[in-house]
Symmetry: C2
Subunit: 371 residues, 2 copies
């Protein structure tokens, strides 16, 4: 690792403190160096609040440092536009910093290289693309949100060796072990939304809250096209019930009674809700990330529509035999038609194994585009 | 690693040269050290031929060395009985070696500690249990064979992320990639027998030979209880057809025509062949290892009878959706009844992931015992 990469890695680490609180904004960490010494640090901690660069500048100044000729490291291009805060590129120019090292260009259309250009026009040296792929992975939610105007979608699957997410009688609690479930709680604390289908709500009656780790509970969204879910589910009655939303059909007549004040109406086709329309509605609610936690029907629809971005599969060291498989509503007739994914890594959680895959979108321009 | 462990590791490496050729004998490597220098080496290379210790002694002597006060390292206890060769413990006593370092006790009832006892009674220092678990893993086929009078059974499964070993139309070639398949050919070259069910023979028409690596083709055994397989399958017609065996029912009337000269008749119950009886018949044929390569029916019977020892599951980065799962003939009604396995390791082969599990036998005294 070069020195630049080393400091960029520290910016990434710093930015992670904002996880779960900045959406739909990006995770940003900034470190300012002068004469080989860190003189200021900052990270974006909450949506709408000060940017990482402004916080790092203020940190340095409050410690009595002059920023002239300092080196500013930041994982995302400093902004060039006036949003909820003033442009960070202007701030750095005013402070007469000597050099800016950037992890990745900001894909947001109002910035998109303009911040870097402004800095260079002011005579500041700018280095770009340091740990670029790590910076892109860090802000995958934000990139999807600003580039495709859709939230990032992750399928989380817990299954047996033989690919069963539940017995034939729908029992599924618990297939995986405690450590795996703790990791899932960690994920929930980082995603804006946890989404489940009707059968999962009915048979598992999950609370979908964050309990095993410190963090906030995400919005809990349940699909109930024909409004047949009972009102006594945990999602509708527990202390977090204000965070529960129900996705239902757009045709009023289908709806009998919905046990939540928060209703999202979505277009239908062939007696199914259109996945793309669910995601569009969520985007309009500023949701940049969705964790899909089952069941087979919903998972299958995300595969059919090719509207998911990655998959976490937990494999428990168990054989279930007859039962329900995660994509049992998806069908192909030739093996060459199988949906191909990209294997990224695997990791063990006690006796369970987690495998992480990214989607290889059929349309190479990316998922979710209208065509 | 201690010096003893270091040399024992080299004995294990040396023993592997006999893989695929010594069954039902064990894999054994022997290294003789004198004055800190290796003076002789040997491994058991073929069933019925000289033992590793005898070869190492001859190696040392042919190089002009005197074995007095030398140190003999061997992964399995030197034998004490006269079988196809003279007892190795007597040989080492006659040569007046100073010390013997043993990986594991020989579980074969005619030895079972008697070799070590003989050496000690002759005043030779014996160290035991060096890299014992590695030595036991090395000779898992042999241990099962001599202790339980049954062959060691491995299930090899190739499936998609969603646990499908074939599409609904039985198509399954190829789910996994080239590197995984090469590893399977390596396995075939090391197992005595590859066993498949009728549907796998019919729909895949596999050759089950060793092609991707250098090695011998195992016996290819296909189950065909009611003798309905066609005669034009590769197993019955290719150049290795003499290595094909058909397992069929014991009742003569069920048999119409069998396209192999090699027939194994097995007891039936509820219109299924009894797995235990298949394994007993194979044991009687000196088979110490069986690689089960499908399909769902046969895999399920091995789980129901709890007569398998470990599982290699290859997971290809593909989604198949509707299709056939590996244990679809096995059923439970409570998750606590799921068959539990022991996760050992995972390893990637290009984009595929291999996960290795060992069976946790329901009866803790081991599988396959009559009770």
């Amino acid at each position: 690792m070069t020195n630049d990469e080393d400091i960029m890695q520290k910016c990434i680490q710093l930015s992670l403190k904002g996880k779960g609180h900045v959406s739909p904004n990006p995770l940003v960490g900034c470190i300012i160096i002068k004469d080989g010494k860190v003189i200021g640090k900052g990270f974006h901690s909450k949506f709408g609040e000060e940017h990482a660069e402004a916080k790092a500048v203020n940190d340095a100044k409050s410690n009595g440092y002059d920023l002239r000729n300092s080196e500013v490291y930041v994982n995302l291009e400093p902004c060039s536009h006036t949003g909820k805060t003033k442009p960070c590129s202007d701030l750095l120019i005013n402070e007469k910093v000597g050099k800016v090292v950037v992890g990745m260009k900001d894909p947001f259309e109002k910035v998109n290289g303009k911040g870097i250009k402004k800095l260079r026009n002011a005579g500041i040296e700018v280095v770009t693309g340091v740990l670029e792929s790590e910076c892109k992975e860090l802000n995958k939610f934000f990139i999807k949100y600003v580039k495709e105007h859709l939230p990032y979608v992750t399928l989380k699957i817990a299954q047996s060796i033989d690919g069963r997410i539940a017995l034939s009688n729908y029992k599924s609690q618990w297939i995986t072990g405690k450590k795996s479930r703790k990791f899932v709680h960690q994920l929930r604390s980082e995603y804006d939304v946890v989404l489940i289908g009707k059968n999962t709500a009915r048979y598992d009656n999950p609370s979908l809250t964050v309990r095993e780790v410190h963090g906030r509970t995400p919005y809990r969204i349940v699909i109930d096209r024909d409004s047949t879910l009972p009102g006594n589910l945990k999602l509708f009655t527990d202390t977090e019930k204000d965070k529960t939303f129900v996705v239902t059909g757009s045709s009023k007549k289908a709806v009998t009674e919905i046990y939540s004040r928060n209703i999202i109406r979505v277009k239908e086709k062939d007696q199914k809700l259109i996945i793309k329309d669910i995601l569009k509605k969520l985007y309009a609610m500023n949701v940049s990330s969705v964790l899909v936690e089952g069941g087979a029907n919903l998972y299958s629809q995300f595969v059919k529509s090719d509207l998911f971005d990655d998959i976490y599969v937990f494999i428990a060291p168990k054989i279930i035999g007859k039962g329900i498989s995660c994509f049992s509503d998806y069908e192909i007739t030739k093996l060459t038609d199988a949906k191909i994914l990209n294997y990224i890594y695997s990791k063990s959680f006690d006796k369970d194994l987690l495998i992480y895959y990214k989607n290889v979108h059929r349309n190479s321009t990316g998922s979710g585009k209208d065509h």
